[in-house]
């Protein structure tokens, strides 16, 4: 099997230390990554746009500031790949959709601004499922991304480009967005770390909205610590996002090496065999992770989250409902594609019919239907009640346990084209990751060995809202125990 995986990878932490101390320059660091991209991205297609010139200019500016003795920030000279649904001022932002193919936003997303302020260099915009709707990155209007571990396999999705960029050594860290697992599932399939933060923990200002009550922006990295470093940079209150949490979060790094001695960790029993379609190999790996945590002093027991059985159905009503409303803005008037018509309605219809791909159309129609008169109570209303039950289930479990453990993805990376014919088959990929989005809790996927096919497997650690410090502690323990 043909793979493109670097023998060693640098951490963001090392790069920032070396660049800040003047031992390395930001520019030469960047050039090494640009060389990797030039060599292999034609095969992988992790990027929609590589920002060579802009990144070089940013790197030179950082080197000048270092020379002047300035403290450049925690990501000094660290290249970062950013998902193409985060606005970058004056730089193409497409959401991998024809409807935004040539759009250049007039402002930066808060996350993009914070990365630059911390000394990072934005190396490119990564490929994704159109408007983040998908679990394989095959729904991109610009062609799929391939898994660096096996080019015949998908990288997962929807942030497949960001996951592949880190796995292939195109960038030490990357940014994605996670509405139902779109960071964690591709992280699992590509063998990297991926984090969905607490809802409201990272600003959504400048993130092209898919499902506003579920979307969160988060990091990809090679190590748990790197993910925590990037998360600290992008997180925190932003007055431009009305759902941003103003209360400060405890440091993600201070206690990261404190271990799990005395912690109580629950394994979600519903995701360990009760729900169909989760491979026995993945379940076995998750049990091994549980054993490792208990060897390190944690008390690990099976717990029940009964409402998780209904999460997939609830999610595929709630997310499309919100999407149908959010995507009504693509009407050919203010930005993006316009296909002319005699009347306004005809222009709207021509534009949206030509501009959106099939999966986006399916979800818009599904959401419109779930919200329509006569069906609202049966579908959307019921789904919102399941969400409440789920939150109550989690509250109850977290009154006795500190964190939870489950698989991230029900399977390892599958072949391109294997799951595209039936949408429901694709949707099942999100079954383990959706619960965290519905309740707004943080969760992380940590690489944990590989399957019989040689492809990576990730395990997921879930924590109560704003308890990322604890989540990173457990993840870090698992990471060092596995190595």
């Amino acid at each position: 099997m043909s793979s493109i995986i670097p023998a060693t990878s640098l951490t963001a932490q090392t790069i920032a230390e070396k660049v800040q101390s003047g031992e390395w320059t930001a520019l030469e660091t960047l050039e090494n990554y640009l060389t990797q991209i030039a060599k292999s991205d034609a095969e992988i297609h992790a990027f929609n746009t590589v920002l060579e010139d802009e990144a070089r200019a940013a790197a030179r500016a950082i080197d000048e500031r270092v020379a002047l003795g300035e403290d450049v920030g925690p990501l000094a000279g660290v290249p970062v790949a950013v998902k193409d649904n985060l606005c970058t001022k004056g730089m193409r932002t497409t959401a991998s959709s024809k409807i935004l193919e040539n759009w250049k936003p007039p402002y930066d997303a808060t996350v993009v601004k914070r990365l630059a302020d911390a000394g990072a260099t934005l190396i490119g915009k990564t490929n994704m499922d159109e408007f983040a709707m998908g679990s394989s990155t095959e729904n991109s209007a610009f062609g799929p991304t391939r898994n660096p571990h096996d080019l015949t396999c998908v990288p997962g999705g929807s942030s497949g480009g960001s996951a592949a960029a880190v796995a292939a050594g195109f960038s030490p860290v990357a940014i994605g967005s996670d509405t139902g697992g779109s960071i964690r599932q591709p992280a699992s399939l590509c063998g990297v770390v991926g984090v969905k933060p607490t809802y409201g923990g990272v600003s959504r200002y400048g993130l092209l909205a898919f499902a506003s009550s579920l979307d969160q922006v988060g990091p990809f990295a090679n190590t748990v610590r790197d993910a925590a470093i990037v998360h600290e940079v992008i997180g925190g209150y932003d007055p431009k996002d009305s759902t941003s949490i103003s209360e400060p979060f405890p440091s993600f790094l201070d206690a990261i090496e404190d271990g799990v001695e005395g912690l109580k960790i629950g394994i979600i029993s519903e995701l360990m065999g009760d729900i169909d379609g989760i491979s026995s190999e993945v379940i076995q790996k998750t049990r091994e992770a549980a054993t490792l945590l208990s060897k390190n002093g944690a008390l690990v027991e099976e717990v029940s989250i009964p409402a998780s059985l209904y999460c997939l159905s609830a999610y595929y009503l709630i997310a499309p409902a919100e999407a149908s409303s959010n995507l009504s803005r693509y009407d050919g008037v203010r930005y993006g594609l316009r296909v002319d018509g005699e009347t306004l309605a005809e222009m709207n219809i021509n534009t949206r019919t030509a501009g959106f791909g099939d999966e986006v159309k399916r979800r818009i129609m599904l959401g419109t239907y779930a919200l329509s008169a006569g069906y609202f109570d049966a579908y959307y209303g019921k789904a919102l009640k399941v969400r409440r039950l789920l939150a109550q289930n989690f509250d109850e479990v977290y009154s006795k346990y500190d964190a939870l453990l489950s698989p991230t993805s029900p399977c390892t990376a599958f072949k391109l084209g294997e799951k595209t014919s039936d949408p429901m088959t694709m949707y099942v990929n999100d079954v383990c990751t959706i619960p965290s989005n519905l309740v707004g809790h943080p969760a992380i996927s940590v690489p944990f060995g590989s399957g019989s096919d040689g492809m990576p497997i990730g395990v997921q650690i879930l924590a109560p809202p704003m308890q990322e410090a604890l989540m990173y502690r457990v993840a870090s323990t698992l990471e060092s125990a596995e190595k």
């Binding site: 009503l317 239907y369 789904a383 429901m424």
Partner: protein
Amino acid sequence: MTEPISEKEVAHVAYLARLRLSDEELQLFTKQLGAVLEHAKDVEALQLDGVEPMSHPLPLENVTREDEVDEMLDREEVLNQAPAVEDGRFQVPQILGEQP
């Protein structure tokens, strides 16, 4: 057994969402949306009387701020990204019936 959603309903929903479907697409989407709604029957069948719906993960109150002038987007930059512009405004096809 009745289908979860008919072609007629899908055609109506497509119109509401400002999408045009070919005959082939209408057939395919009806089948695919039907499969998703079929799966959603587990939720539809639940007895959930008395459970408070939860539309959002955070118990948010209205978020307000002082009405102060802040940094704003540049008008020209914004209009530059629009498909059609006239006299500093977004231009759309004629909305009213009469000729201009």
